[in-house]
Symmetry: C2
Subunit: 220 residues, 2 copies
DNA sequence: GTCTATACTTCGATAGAC
DNA sequence: GTCTATCGAAGTATAGAC
């Protein structure tokens, strides 16, 4: 069944990769490297191995390719989202555990080379494209902030941390993640990184540890 | 003497604004609003009130206008830099005072509408232009981080704060400023802000207060 | 589904008259 | 220093043959 997705021809020849998929993948590469405006449809076609006019048999126009990429990005993020119901029980295991697991879950949203490139694309086109900007504001900033505010509220209720303003805590914690994204995807993308994810995870955990030391209720 | 800069004609007619200056100002407006690539030389000429070909009598090409803007930005930042020598004595007045004054000095680098627009321009073109990106990394990230590391080192030596890793503290403090810039200039620039500077100053001071509470040595 | 050919637009930049 | 006129390059997109 699954193979039918890749090749719908009856004779089942060698599994030639879907051209539409090729266009998608090539566009991710090029957009992430050069930015949307700096990539021409001709260039995409050249990399795929077809004429630019053939692109339009698969996507209505250049913008539609970008839209498809953003849709893919949204889907991947949604799927890798937090289980919701497990939040409470996870908190009960102590704030340290929660931050550790939370950061790992978040960073795992960049768990493939393709997703890492789309993160880059989103980061550098956030201003130039209003759809991306609104998506960034809502899904990558406001929703996480609300989520963390909620988590800190629970922690305070449970007496795990001192009663700071939970919204303040949410910003204190999460703004550091935004900074890490900006530092890596915008400022340092072309530099040598053995593994951004490992490094970011470590930095985020150090940050959480520092924050916790400041707000944790001492055990008696 | 100073007037000669504006109008070098002998007869001293009505003080007509320098065309080169007009091009500069119009370009700042347009680049900050739409981004460098999205603004054409024709559009700049139209706003200035001359043909696009006349632009080239004042600047060698479009890129040269951007370079001039960035140079202006650098000069303004350098001039408003910290006095260096007063750092130590300022620290002696207590960490609270230092953070307050430091944040104010920093935010005052966006003290004119023109500088605010160029901040925006820098923020949105940081990726697309390598000169801007290198400048951002060096002058707006690494140098301030080094500076704050130095300041925290002094504070620790003086016994004002607990002996955390000063570089960690520098990132804990300053990453929040980068986040504020990103949030404002990229994500929320088009929204209603009565005064970004007042709001950012307050947020930065709240952040400093929170940080201080965590690291300050209690007075005995 | 891919190709050739081409329409149409916009861009940065230059030449030369005034 | 500004204008008109124009060039060449590059871009998106479409029409129609195969």
């Amino acid at each position: 069944m699954k193979n039918n997705i890749k090749n719908s021809s009856k004779s089942g020849n060698e599994p030639k990769k879907n051209t539409k998929q090729k266009i998608f993948d090539v566009s991710v590469d090029l957009f992430a490297e050069k930015g949307f405006d700096a990539v021409s449809v001709r260039e995409i076609g050249r990399e795929v191995g077809i004429r630019e006019s053939s692109i339009y048999n698969h996507y209505q126009n250049k913008e539609a390719i970008l839209d498809a990429i953003i849709d893919y990005f949204k889907d991947e993020l949604t799927q890798s989202g937090p289980p919701e119901e497990e939040t409470e029980s996870l908190i009960d295991q102590g704030p340290e555990v929660f931050f550790e697991v939370g950061a790992r879950m978040y960073i795992e949203r960049i768990n493939t080379p393709k997703m890492e490139k789309i993160w880059r694309l989103v980061s550098i086109e956030t201003y130039h494209n209003e759809k991306i900007r609104e998506f960034f504001k809502k899904t990558l900033l406001e929703e996480p902030i609300d989520g963390w505010e909620n988590i800190f509220t629970i922690m305070i209720k449970k007496g795990l941390i001192k009663p700071f303003n939970p919204r303040t805590l949410a910003y204190e914690y999460f703004s550091f993640a935004i900074f890490l994204f900006f530092e890596y995807f915008v400022l340092k993308y072309d530099e040598d990184f053995d593994s951004f994810m490992d490094l970011a995870l470590k930095k985020m955990n150090d940050h959480a540890e520092f924050l916790l030391k400041a707000i944790k209720v001492e055990e008696v």
